[in-house]
């Protein structure tokens, strides 16, 4: 009877999943060029952050507190990202494109939308 050894445990790479979600958010936004055109490259850190939050919450079932500690952000930011509404995010994005700073719930909505799309296509 074979017992799987500890070195056979296959831990997936959180970073690569978060990168996939991040790239999908860019695709949803219309591609990187669109962000450059609108001078919105300052959104990128928030989108990356939101991608990590969504992956850690959904794939790893981490709590808000655990995610906040892991990423070094506040629990409130994590909460805003996770409670973001994916239904309305695209409608609200229109006005947001004029803003230089991306609100956590908009970044969260985009990341959640990207995550859902990735999962449904996998």
């Amino acid at each position: 009877m074979a017992i799987l050894k500890p070195d056979e445990i296959q831990r997936p790479d959180v970073d690569s999943t978060a990168i996939q979600v991040f790239l999908k958010t860019l695709e949803i936004l219309g591609g990187p060029k669109k962000l450059i055109t609108y001078r919105n490259l300052t959104w990128l850190p928030s989108l990356f952050e939101a991608a990590y939050v969504v992956v850690l919450a959904n794939d790893y079932q981490k709590t808000e507190a655990e995610i906040a500690e892991y990423l070094g952000i506040t629990r409130q930011t994590v909460r805003n990202i996770l409670r973001a509404d994916t239904e309305t995010v695209m409608k609200r994005l229109e006005g947001e494109l004029q803003e230089k700073t991306l609100k956590a719930h908009i970044a969260g909505g985009l990341a959640k939308l990207a995550y859902e799309k990735l999962k449904s296509s996998s």
């Binding site: 009877m1 017992i3 056979e8 296959q10 831990r11 997936p12 669109k34 079932q61 994005l93």
Partner: protein, 291 residues
């Protein structure tokens, strides 16, 4: 920015004729539990019309839920299933979430002796994945699924047992639906015939499909089998169950199965002196005998 239109998922729309071409044939996978193989059936067309034909086991590729309160025989049942399959040469992955692998191995050995099975054959076909000892397997579903995929590819595994899935959402029951859905989709993607054990909470009705996580497990999986136990405490019980007052009786029922027909009666289930479970007569049969 213009609002993006919702995409059309064209491959999801299929004619029944096309879907039938890739539909797997449903055949029985022996359960290793006396009296259980006959409780799943299919229908065949004969000259005399449609006829019910026993499947001879769990339907192949089904992902089934086995639920019950503590000490009803859930683990025994899945262990017998795993041993039976391994003994006939089918590689089995046994994800142990409650008992560390080394302890499970000794229990399996004594069970195999009681079942008079070829233990050498079993040893080469049964792969234990110890989620009881490694928290990353218990707490990170992607790690568990990646590891299972690794084992399936390495050992060409066809059968998966998880005892129990409740241990994968302990203290986070609101995640049950999402976790069970991921496990179910994974089993389907890898064409596994799978048995998931789930535990009941004290408030759950004992012979219902409800378990930890509510009805999430039963709703998502292909079918549910329920185990319970009852103390014989009255002369009525004595007459009905043909057991003396003070004795414990175990009951078994198939609550539902999407993939094939099944018996719907509640059956007596026994644990033999050698520690094996077997399904006995239905309560309807016992009632007829007692009247």
């Amino acid at each position: 920015m213009t609002h993006k239109e919702y995409e059309i998922v064209e491959p999801a729309v299929t004619e029944l004729r096309e879907a039938t071409k890739s539909a797997p044939e449903i055949r029985g996978i022996p359960t290793g539990v006396e009296g259980l193989d006959e409780l799943f059936f299919t229908t065949k067309v004969t000259e005399a019309g449609p006829k019910r034909v026993p499947l001879g086991g769990f339907p192949q590729y089904a992902v089934l839920n086995l639920t019950g309160i503590p000490d009803t025989g859930k683990s025994l049942m899945v262990e017998q299933f795993a041993l039976k399959q391994a003994s006939i040469g089918l590689p089995v992955a046994f994800v142990t979430v409650e008992t560390p692998a080394a302890f499970l191995a000794s229990a399996l050995k004594s069970r195999a002796i009681a079942m008079s099975l070829d233990y050498e054959e079993i040893e080469s076909n049964l792969i234990l994945i110890d989620a009881a000892s490694y928290a990353s397997l218990r707490e990170e579903i992607p790690t568990l699924l990646n590891t299972l995929a690794y084992a399936i590819k390495k050992y060409d595994i066809k059968i998966t047992v998880i005892d129990s899935i409740t241990g994968l959402f302990e203290a986070r029951e609101m995640m049950a639906r999402s976790i069970v859905r991921q496990l179910y989709n994974f089993m389907k993607r890898w064409y596994q015939t799978a048995l998931f054990v789930s535990q009941k909470r004290s408030g759950h009705e004992e012979l219902s499909a409800e378990a930890a996580g509510g009805y999430a497990v039963a709703h998502i999986l292909d079918g549910t089998m329920v185990l319970t136990k009852k103390m014989i405490s009255s002369t009525y019980d004595e007459r009905l169950y043909k057991r003396p007052v003070g004795e414990l009786i175990r009951l078994f029922r198939i609550d539902g199965c999407r993939l094939c027909g099944h018996d719907t009666d509640t059956h007596v289930m026994e644990i033999t002196k050698t520690g094996l479970v077997r399904i006995g007569p239905s309560l309807t049969t016992l009632m007829r005998k007692s009247s």
